[in-house]
């Protein structure tokens, strides 16, 4: 975990006091709602359908147990007793009162968390692999770089009023769990021939109404130069990104309109003038950041303890969960445990204050006080001794976060949709709830295997529907909710946009259509371990389309 020092804490407190002043000026009428808008957005405050919404940053998805308890406290004290974990490793509260916002933020500041840059046209919360630092085979812990970038981008004087929001994601693993190819900048940590650490830099990815997969702008940037290179990209974007049309303002459009070669040349021309300047990172700075990440004092433990084998043999529910939600750790004897926030019939990603408190206690007891938030809207305990898995499972099961559906059909990613969001055209949550009921049988879900369903309630694509193995997009037709279905998308290192299977279907038919698609897949796959996306890749959309529309 990264430990905030008094410098970091001071800044967060100064920010809270500035925001208190801004809220005061809004409440007194000195600021109009329009003037206040940019200010509140920069602190993560949106105006939703029913109330203000507060989005709190969880930098690179790492939380301490004390921080999670504070998130629970805010849910209980200022909201309706729950919070919603998002696809950007943030948490949102949907029912906060404007006058109480500064107090809520002050409470969060006491544990070093805040809402800075979780919205607005600035550099957003830096995200990374939720298994950073514990995944086997990782080149190095990407959170070191995420933290350097977090500090670099926080209240940046040049880049707080960009043409549009700007998202950076980092991965250090072969298998990309951070979805870097759908970010404005994606960074992949690697080593060159000389053994020097650096980054493959990708640019221009994004979803929304004009989705693009990011392109490689530079195959290797030395770690010393990463801040100057990122600044060169941002500077070109800040000057030349479109500001005339909000839908064409993301960097992906600039990259697309100029072409990647021309854009890369612009960045290069800027970069050569500054790479040896004040942003060049010296080893002392990196070492200082690295020194403030503490790692658990792991013990020498068996990967195959008796307690685990006994529980596996005697309890099939435990065995099923173990097979689904527990992943290998880089240290023998330990495991990474995913906590499913996708129980049958509930909105994806919601957690109650009580659940958060219990999870914080369990993190203290079994995971060296650490919790992770993933972009799939689940939590993880990253450092669990394998011998403790049976006891942990019983505790997780008791609070409903041990549904063995991680990466399966009911592990649905969904935006808040028309139930909360003023931008939405259609509901997302009820579709997700219905699908979890249709596929509630864990045996069936296990039989289907890996399958990501993503639901967005409008074209802004907060549910990442383009890159869902099955994507569901809500649209409005003659005042009715309709849904477009795509298949074959993915967000990982082989990122691809899904393909539309045909005309949109009404709300009431969505779950039937998804069932048809899944049945078609089960009949078409050559072997049980050919995943859904592999089958779609092999056969294209036609057989699925035929199945879905044959009777409609």
């Amino acid at each position: 975990m990264y430990a905030y020092d008094e410098i970091d804490r001071t800044l967060v407190n100064e920010r809270v006091s500035e925001f208190r002043d801004q809220v005061q000026r809004r409440l007194s009428g000195e600021l109009t709602e329009d003037e206040f808008k940019s200010l509140r957005l920069m602190n993560g405050v949106y105006l939703q359908l029913h109330a203000y919404m507060l989005r709190v940053a969880i930098p690179y998805g790492t939380l301490s147990s004390a921080q999670l308890r504070k998130l629970a406290h805010v849910a209980r004290r200022y909201d309706r007793g729950y919070g919603h974990f998002t696809t950007r490793q943030n948490i949102q509260y949907n029912w906060i009162k404007l006058a109480e916002l500064p107090d809520a933020l002050a409470d969060l500041a006491s544990v070093g968390i805040h809402g800075m840059q979780t919205s607005g046209n600035c550099i957003r919360n830096i995200t990374t692999d939720q298994w950073a630092g514990v995944a086997p085979g990782e080149i190095q812990d990407p959170r070191i770089w995420a933290e350097i970038l977090r500090q670099y981008s926080t209240l940046h004087p040049e880049f707080s009023f960009l043409p549009r929001k700007f998202k950076i994601a980092i991965t250090a693993s072969e298998h990309d769990r951070a979805a870097i190819k759908i970010h404005d900048i994606g960074l992949r940590i690697l080593k060159n021939d000389k053994g020097e650490t650096g980054f493959e830099v990708l640019v221009g990815g994004g979803l929304g109404r004009t989705p693009f997969i990011a392109k490689t702008i530079k195959p290797f940037v030395s770690h010393r130069d990463i801040l100057s290179y990122v600044e060169a990209i941002l500077r070109v974007y800040n000057q030349y990104g479109r500001r005339d049309n909000i839908y064409k303002a993301r960097i992906k459009i600039l990259v697309h309109e100029l072409g990647i070669e021309k854009f890369a040349q612009e960045v290069e021309d800027e970069w050569v003038q500054m790479r040896d300047g004040i942003l060049a990172l010296d080893d002392a700075v990196v070492a200082d950041i690295r020194s403030r990440f503490t790692y658990p004092d792991y013990q020498r433990l068996s990967d195959d303890p008796d307690q685990l084998n006994k529980a596996k043999a005697s309890d099939p529910r435990f065995a099923m969960w173990l097979g689904n939600s527990v992943a290998p750790h880089r240290v023998p004897g330990y495991a990474i445990v995913t906590l499913s926030l996708k129980p049958v019939g509930a909105p994806p990603g919601d957690a109650t204050a009580e659940q958060m408190d219990v999870i914080a206690d369990l993190a203290d007891k079994y995971s060296f006080g650490e919790i992770r938030v993933g972009h799939e809207q689940n939590l993880a305990l990253p450092n669990v001794a394998r011998k403790d898995l049976p006891a942990l499972w019983r505790a997780l099961d008791k609070i409903g976060v041990a549904t063995p559906n991680v990466n399966l059909v009911t592990d649905i990613i969904a935006c808040p949709g028309l139930d909360y969001c003023s931008l939405a055209n259609a509901r997302s949550i009820p579709i997700a709830q219905e699908l979890t009921r249709r596929f509630a049988d864990p045996e069936l879900a296990a039989l289907i295997g890996k399958l990501h369903i993503n639901i967005s309630g409008c074209i802004n694509a907060c549910g990442h529907h383009h890159v869902g193995h099955i994507g569901i997009l809500g649209v409005e037709k003659n005042n009715e909710e309709f849904y477009q279905i795509t298949i074959g998308g993915r967000a990982d290192e082989k990122a691809e946009m899904g393909t539309l299977i045909g005309p949109a279907v009404p709300f009431a038919e969505v779950a039937d259509v998804i069932e048809d698609i899944v049945e078609a897949y089960l009949a078409l796959r050559t072997r049980p371990d050919e995943t859904f996306v592999e089958t779609v890749k092999r056969l294209g959309v036609t057989p699925f389309k035929e199945r879905v529309y044959a009777t409609r």
Binding site: I7, E18, S38, P157, E158, F161, L279
Partner: protein, 170 residues
């Protein structure tokens, strides 16, 4: 619209001259970019200082050859949300070594002061009187700066490294 310089409200010695208005024979003037570039020599030959209002959509490279002779450059914030002039300011100060007055004009509210100071602005056409009066307080609101710019403020990174050096030396 009050002008703030050196942390306090100051009188503006520059007359803003519209593009179609006649230039006064003497005194400090602030003129538009197009008018200035049409005949820089003539405008600079007057007695009195010259400043140029530079739009945020035009590359500052076109202004660079004249910087040594200008007393002021005014960069424009057509809306609070349009941040192009921050980049222009840093380029003028940090890359092109411009030392004269760098003025922020347009939609200038208190919530941008710290950003503007860090980008190199030292004069502010502040939109609201109350914001202008609060300038000194607002400008000192932050004591921690994460990223380096040309403003010389010591960054958090540097403070930490210095702290280590101190500990190591003691």
């Amino acid at each position: 619209m009050p002008l703030v310089k050196g942390n306090k409200i100051a009188s503006d010695t520059f007359a803003h001259v519209a593009d179609d208005a006649e230039l006064p024979a003497s005194g400090d003037v602030l003129v538009g970019a197009t008018r200035f570039l049409a005949d820089p020599a003539e405008i600079l030959s007057r007695s009195g200082n010259v400043g140029v209002i530079w739009p945020n959509s035009r590359d500052v490279d076109d202004l660079v050859p004249h910087l040594g002779k200008l007393a002021a450059v005014a960069l424009v914030f057509p809306s609070f949300r349009d941040g192009r002039a921050y980049t222009q300011a840093r380029l003028l100060r940090e890359r092109h070594g411009y030392k004269g007055e760098l003025r922020a004009t347009g939609q200038v509210l208190r919530d941008q002061f710290v950003f503007m100071l860090r980008a190199g602005f030292d004069a502010f056409d502040v939109k609201k009187q109350s914001d202008a009066e609060a300038f000194a307080d607002v400008a000192s609101r932050y004591s921690v700066f994460y990223q380096p710019t040309g403003d010389g403020r010591v960054t958090a990174f540097r403070r930490r490294v210095a702290r280590h050096a101190e500990t190591a030396g003691s």
